[in-house]
């Protein structure tokens, strides 16, 4: 047997990978530069939510009787109402801008309340283990077994729709996910050396949890929260579509879609634009969430 020195291979056969396909390049760019997502979110969600009072061209709740069901600007309408008007003559653009406020505030407050509850309970369960853990995890199971909209139905039927009702529903849906995820991570973090060192140094349970463990689950919490803004916006939209959301006349995207539902034959734009706003917003949020997850917590897998 002989081992000849391998022949030098010419450089071109070294197989430089072919440049990725155009669609794939677009995809990679979307993923690696979340600028587009951030831009869409700012334009569609954050800026309108903060500045609707000054920027909205019309009153979102007072319609002009003469201007009912006007089409959008490139479909026979005018720049007066760029996205057309609804059946009460209200400007759809203005209503979408005010609707952003509802989507943004409900998702932020709901995630904050649900996250706070879930993270706290998850921390307690993972840190103390034992019976505290058992009780909290059983509650998690129960909460995951009760579909969200059903709870919303019961609550709405019992006490009527309101901002608080929606926040309760959102928080109820979310807390269990945070609790489960945080608990799992705390279980492993609490075994690490620096936690043991802090304990030996006489730190209190509270201090250990807040100073030593919480910072280590922060990434997970941030990623989870970002990924959930989108689904909370959809949940809120579904509730308001069913009439279980923010009470009228405050405009919400889901409610606007519902308003135009009977009129799709004659005035498709009434339903179309608010729904498009939801889709683009949630799409950008999910893109941003995926990007954040890849950066901060690649192992996290939630559906």
């Amino acid at each position: 047997m002989n081992n000849p020195p391998p022949e030098d291979t010419p450089a071109e056969s070294l197989g430089v990978p072919a440049p990725p396909h155009l669609l794939r390049r677009i995809w990679l760019n979307l993923r690696s530069y979340p600028l587009l997502s951030v831009f869409v979110l700012l334009v569609l969600l954050v800026i309108p939510a903060l500045t609707a009072d000054w920027l909205a061209p019309h009153d979102p709740t007072q319609g002009v009787i003469m201007d009912r069901r006007l089409p959008p600007v490139f479909f026979g309408g005018t720049w007066e109402y760029p996205l057309g008007t609804d059946r009460l003559g209200r400007d759809i653009l203005s209503r979408i801008m005010y609707g952003a406020r509802v989507s943004l505030s409900i998702s932020l407050v709901g995630i904050f309340v649900g996250g706070l509850l879930g993270v706290t309970l998850g921390l307690l369960a993972g840190y103390f283990r034992g019976w505290i853990d058992t009780i909290i995890m059983r509650l998690v199971e129960i909460s995951l077994a009760l579909p969200a909209i059903l709870l919303a139905l019961v609550l709405a039927a019992a006490s009527g729709p309101s901002f608080q009702t929606i926040i309760i529903v959102v928080a109820f849906v979310l807390w269990a996910l945070y609790a489960r995820q945080v608990r799992g991570e705390v279980l492993s973090i609490r075994e690490r050396d620096y936690v043991a060192r802090a304990r030996v140094a006489g730190a209190s349970h509270f201090r250990i949890m807040v100073r030593h463990i919480l910072p280590n689950v922060a990434n997970t919490i941030i990623v989870l929260a970002t990924l959930q803004v989108g689904s909370v916006i959809i949940l809120e939209a579904a509730l308001s579509f069913l009439g279980l959301g923010i009470p009228r006349p405050t405009p919400a995207w889901g409610m606007m879609v519902a308003d135009g539902r009977q009129l799709i034959v004659s005035a498709w734009w009434i339903s179309f634009f608010p729904g498009l706003a939801i889709t683009l917003t949630v799409f950008s949020l999910n893109l941003l969430g995926d990007w954040l997850r890849d950066r901060l917590d690649p192992k996290l897998e939630i559906v």
Partner: protein, 339 residues
């Protein structure tokens, strides 16, 4: 019992495999040549990451796609070049004429199918056996690898078996289609020592019975001494020394082979401390000019820095075809001294 060693059955020439990664194109197998005769056991030895397993997978053309690709060389098997075979022809070779046993018995059997199912699948693919008698052939194969009560065990799932038993099942799958060549990729690394020697004995018995040729991949020189007729020492994706097992053990010519031998603790040699080779093998994407071992080599000379050494035949007592890629062999009596 003396083994009968016949004609060359498998000849690998200058095999090259590329791996496309985020940091560029690497060559885990970079011009490997091997030869294996009928009934012979060839040991491939080297540090982890030197391309032993990738060589085996490249021979059978099952490198992880699409990242890896065999890009050059020939794999002559019974006079035909397997590299020119279509995927369909290769499937008949894999598990049929050339089969393979993998390292980790815990993960190499599919957890959701029975033992019997996994053995019969191989038989159904490669042997012209009526469907009804498939199971009895599987039981035969299991009996050959000394699985107790094979009639019952065929209904078991992998998780119901011990690691050693699972490795026997892998062995049964490998030999069930009467292969000419068996490639064993560190089959005993994950097993207990006693189970290990049982398994090695089993392999030798099967070889004596069937005249099977074996390529044994390992990093354990003890197993090499026990099992192999010839040895190829791999370093950084290339074979650096090869020859009859005695020659390699008694008169290693490549400094790397000597270093590997030194790092094996043995009973008859008084080792003051466990020897380990200083330094790291070169990164796959950053090969130095000249000899790839020179950075770790105590005998490096200026010319080692400019040119990769060719394979040079060694004159020795134990026999011919002992070669090593080292400039030191230009003095044909060179034997790497014990350091």
């Amino acid at each position: 019992m003396a083994k009968i060693i016949g004609e060359t059955i498998l000849q690998v020439e200058n095999l090259q495999t590329e791996l496309h990664t985020n940091i560029g194109v690497q060559r885990p197998v970079d011009g490997v040549s091997l030869s294996l005769r009928q009934g012979e056991t060839l040991g491939i030895v080297g540090e982890s990451g030197c391309g032993k397993s990738m060589t085996a997978l490249s021979i059978l053309g099952v490198v992880p796609k699409p990242a890896a690709q065999v890009v050059g060389g020939r794999v002559m098997f019974n006079g035909q070049d397997l590299r020119t075979f279509s995927e369909q022809q290769m499937r008949r070779i894999r598990g049929g004429s050339i089969s393979m046993v993998l390292q980790d018995p815990q993960t190499s059997l599919n957890p959701v199918y029975t033992i019997g199912g996994q053995v019969t699948e191989a038989i159904a693919l490669h042997r012209d056996v009526p469907r009804r008698s498939l199971m009895s052939h599987a039981i035969d194969a299991l009996r050959q690898v000394r699985v107790a009560a094979p009639e019952q065990r065929v209904k078991d799932y992998p998780h119901q078996m011990s690691g050693g038993m699972k490795q026997r099942v892998s062995g049964a799958i490998a030999i069930s289609c009467d292969p000419h060549v068996l490639i064993a990729d560190e089959p005993t690394t994950a097993l207990d020592v006693t189970i290990q020697s049982q398994y090695l004995r089993l392999l030798r018995e099967i070889q004596e019975k069937t005249g099977l040729s074996i390529i044994f991949i390992t990093h354990d020189f003890g197993i090499i001494a026990n099992m192999c007729d010839t040895v190829a020492v791999m370093y950084a994706g290339r074979v650096v020394e090869s020859g009859p097992v005695r020659a390699i053990f008694d008169e290693p010519r490549h400094p790397y082979t000597r270093a590997l031998l030194n790092s094996v603790p043995t009973m008859d040699r008084h080792v003051k401390r466990l020897y380990s080779i200083p330094g790291q093998p070169p990164a796959l994407w950053d090969r130095p000019a000249g000899c790839w071992y020179r950075n770790r080599c105590p005998f490096a000379e200026p010319r080692c820095e400019t040119q990769y050494p060719p394979a040079i035949a060694a004159k020795n007592t134990a026999g011919s075809n002992h070669v090593a890629n080292c400039w030191k062999l230009e003095d044909s009596t060179w034997i790497t001294p014990k350091s």
